[in-house]
Subunit: 240 residues, 2 copies
């Protein structure tokens, strides 16, 4: 995934940035100096050396310049989900889709940590972030709803799993952001998503493949005669 | 739970309403007539026959008058969670806490449906609602984090279960609101929450009680010698 966001620590002074990136870079130079609320769009365009209309061509509002990559990431997620095989494991697919968000953050830790701190300080940005998270969640839920169509409680399951995946992802992502982007974010998110996948793919175990190490499960009433259970067992083990 | 919200259909013309309720009633008489954005706080206080300062004594902003009962419900939820027995089943407790929100909506279906329609139309109110939902989720997660303290992945589990509970609750609540408040909201929410409780209290199956109808599960590698599996089975069945 290529990022279009300006990157503190990427040496954006040395190179000529595309206009969109220049606007993000200017905004994130001004926010720590003046504060988010005190920085105006006019300040940003002045520093970036572009006109006010250029800003609004890329960003509908000042809030949007804080989250410059979410629209692209949402589009990537939607494409990724649509490209999934129709018979693939749906919970795994939404976990993999959620990883795209983490990759966007992990692509540029310094920028992500700076943005996280800003978001913690400005209630309006927290609200904006909640609306972005909601859109990711609806993208995942929409995919699952289609995959679970016709199943009992399919819509309910879809919504619950999507919320659980987002919560697990954000739990790991926010730990990493709070640690100033230290440690292995991908491993932490993988671990968190695996936790959700296990909770929701417990269900009936699919038939195991033949092989010396695969597993046979026999369920029997305790009162059943032993000979009957052994016969079932022989059949299952392929010894009968 | 007693409601302090003004209630369309509760006959608020016939009785003298407390000031807070009168403001809510006035707001919800004006919103459908003029539109939410076009209705000012001045319009609301004029209709309610009170001063502007009275409005802001009860509601920090115009958005808050749309959701007059959430603060009380959040406080009720926090109290309810704090009053839970230390050895109770934590997932059941958060499900019961989530039911408090449903009860608030179900208390006054006409008002809840009217508010739902308004919220769907006004992006600012959607954003406000997301922030309220987030606060409920954090209340549930905070309780679970404390209950799971010291357990492996305790914080992760807490966050995931809280999100799943909120998603299940909202799935049922929104279906009910979309159906104009018809049908049994409590039964629908109970069903949705039970789905989550089952997913997260599956874990290791507790030992089964002795009895003619209980079940024995034997798991074996397919390559294991039959005599060995039978010996395990005899022990499990109590025949060995």
């Amino acid at each position: 995934m290529s990022s279009s966001s300006a990157a503190p620590g990427r040496g954006d002074k040395a190179e000529k940035l595309p206009m969109r990136d220049a606007l993000v870079a200017a905004a994130f130079r001004l926010f720590p100096e003046r504060g988010y609320e005190q920085t105006t769009v006019d300040d940003i365009v002045a520093l970036a050396g572009v006109g006010r209309r250029s800003f609004f061509r890329y960003f509908p509002s000042k809030e949007d310049v804080v989250f410059p990559d979410h629209e692209r990431c949402l589009a990537d997620m939607t494409d990724f989900l649509a490209a999934g095989p129709a018979d693939g494991e749906p919970v795994r697919r939404v976990c993999d889709a959620a990883r795209l968000v983490l990759l966007m953050y992990a692509e540029n830790p310094a920028f992500s940590v700076q943005r996280y701190r800003l978001t913690q300080q400005v209630p309006g940005l927290r609200a904006y972030e909640l609306s972005v998270v909601w859109r990711y969640e609806r993208a995942l839920a929409g995919y699952l709803r289609a995959r679970f169509a016709g199943l009992p409680d399919g819509i309910l399951r879809a919504d619950v799993i999507a919320a659980a995946v987002v919560a697990a992802h954000n739990n790991a992502l926010r730990s990493w952001l709070r640690s100033d982007g230290k440690g292995d974010a991908e491993a932490a998110v993988d671990h968190a998503l695996e936790h959700v996948r296990e909770a929701f793919t417990a269900g009936p175990v699919p038939p195991v493949a033949e092989g010396p190490d695969d597993v046979v499960v026999v369920v029997s009433r305790r009162g059943a005669p032993l000979w009957r259970v052994v016969r079932e067992l022989e059949t299952a083990l392929g010894n009968g």
